[in-house]
Each structure stands twice: as C-alpha cells, then as structure tokens.
C-alpha cells in the first residue's frame, strides 16, 4: 500500500465517522448538545495540527546545533593538511 492510499484510507474512515455524526445516522447525546463543535471538528483538528506543526518546526529551528567548534577544527585541520601534503611532495595549484 502506498503512503497516498494509507492517507486516503485513514482520512476516509475518519470522514465516515464524522459524516455519520453530523447526519445523525448514529445518535449521540454529545452531538445533540454541541452540533456546531462536531460539525467544525475537522477544521478544528486541522487548525490544532497546524499550530502543533509550527511549534515543533520552530522549536527544532531554534535548537538546530550550530557547529562552531566543528568548523573551527576543520579550519585547523586544513592548515595542518596543507603543510603535511606539501612535505609529502604535493604541489598545490
């Protein structure tokens, strides 16, 4: 099963549950009390997920390691490499 089909299957199942609730095919006390909340629940969930996504991505951007040390080490090693290679007879262009 491709990822696309997996998504279609899961969203289809959730959509079926939602439809059965908003059309009152399945009777639920909760639905009768809050029909608007149930009707807009897909939008609410998408919105909440959007907020979640923004928080996670921003958190990961701000905690993305800046490898200052690795960069400095590399610069030192480049100097070392050039000196050693020159000693071994390498002619740099």
């Amino acid at each position: 099963m491709t990822k696309l089909l997996e998504w279609v299957a899961v969203l289809g199942a959730l959509g079926a549950v939602w439809l059965s609730l908003v059309t009152n095919t399945v009777e639920f006390g909760f639905v009768r009390q809050y029909p608007t909340a149930v009707f807009y629940s897909p939008v609410i969930f998408v919105g909440l997920f959007g907020i979640y996504a923004i928080i996670v991505v921003l958190y990961r951007v701000f905690t993305f390691n800046d490898c200052e040390k690795a960069a400095a080490e590399l610069q030192e090693e480049i100097v070392e490499a050039r000196a050693d290679l020159a000693k071994l007879g390498f002619r740099f262009k």
């Binding site: 009390q33 996670v56 991505v57 951007v61 993305f64 490898c67 690795a70 480049i78 050039r82 007879g89």
Partner: protein, 278 residues
Amino acid sequence: MRNYFFGLLAILLFAVLIPNLKRDENKFENSGKMGKESKSSEDKYSILLPTYNEVENLPIIVWLIVKYMEKSGYNYEVIIIDDGSPDGTQDAAKQLQKIYGENKILLKPREKKLGLGTAYIHGMKHASGNFILIMDADLSHHPKFIPQFIEKQKSKDYDVVSGTRYVGSGGVYGWDFRRKLISRGANFLTQLLLRPGASDLTGSFRLYKKDVLEKLIKSCVSKGYVFQMEMIVRARQFNYTVGEVPITFVDRVYGESKLGGSEIFQFAKALLYLFATT
C-alpha cells in the same frame, strides 16, 4: 460539558506534542562506542568521492580520510570519480595517487558531467570493497565520522547507515535562519507524509552494503539531490534496516552553496511522487 470537551482536546494536543518535541534526542548516545572489538578482517570499505572542480578540496579530503581511516585500522580504498573537471582536479588526484599509492587512491574519471546515480554505478564497478561509503568532496562531510558509521553498521548489521544533521549531536554550520527554517519545515513535512524511518533524507553521507546500494540505485528514478531522498525511502520500501549517526555539516568552506526556488520545487515534486508511489 463544554469544558470537558476542550479539556480533552488540550490533553490530546499535549499528548502528541510533548513526546515529539524532544524526540530522538537521546537515541544515539551510544553510537561511536559500539562494536570496536569486532574488527572483521575481510570487510573492506570503498569510499566514493564524486568530484567536479574540487581541486582545492580534494587533497584535503583525501588527507583527512587517510588520517582517520589509518587511525581506525579498517581496510579501505578511495575512488575518485571526476566528471571531466576543467580546473585540474584529476592532476591533483594523480599526485595523491603517487603519495598514497595507486591501490589506496583510485582515479576513475568520466568525460563529462553526468548524474550522481551513474557516478555511483561507475565507481562501484571499480570498487573492491563489500561496503560502499558515499560522501561529498567539498569538506561539508568530515571523514572523522566514517569509523563511527562502520561501528554503527557492525552493531546491528545494518544495511544502510545514514549520517544525520537533525538528531543528537548532529548539526550544521553556516546556515542562517531562513535556511534552517526551510530545512526543518521540509523535513517535518517529509516525515509526516513518508514516515521513512530515517531523520535525514537529503544528506548524502552514507554507508551501504554493496549489493544494497546496487539494488537501490537501480530502483531510483530521480536526479540531483532529491536522489538521496529517494534512496532512503526506497530502502524503507524494501525493508532494509537503516542506522543513523549524528554528523556535523560544515557548509562549503570554499565556494558557495545555494537553495533557491527551483530546488524547493524539485523537492516538492519528488515528495509528491514518492508519496504516491511508495
């Protein structure tokens, strides 16, 4: 009743949020310490270096590879696949062959610039190792991580070991906020849609079993850097095991790198293609 409903929503949100925020942070603390004792003598690692105009970086990267591989004691060879660079990269490679020996440094040039996938196939034809390590020659990938890749592979006999910038001690140097945001955003979206079982999809610092790499290349259709993403997604599709090692990515010491609109478009196209086909 209304409070109950929103309370439930909040609990649901935090239940998803909290474990995901710091996910994977500690998963790799053991990497680098494992498997040192089991040094199999028949394993050989062929390091493929595709180059184009890398006359300044090639001697440095080869020197670093030799330094860290000699220290680790693993059996290895370096295969330079140069796509007809006009800047004298091949002359530099020939000088390095004289210094380190033609059995350690192999030069397998091609006439003109061709795709990355075909470069790997070309290099593999001449590889005598049973493992293939792929890395960039522009010094963004540091050879000090290669022994860690090998130890990680040995620890659980992984089919693929991938370097990752996104986990644990991994990271980047020389990226501004915009670049980081695009990278993290694209990664989040890809993880959501493809669930590939690897955290770094577009990186190209990886160790493969030779037959695994052959099969992956044959099944991949993309070009350019998206090719790396397809390789790891196909690996999941074929149920290959993937290990990860945190790496530091030092962006282009010499020269400059780009991330423009066309790269993002290419990425989106590849993402949708893989979403619909794997």
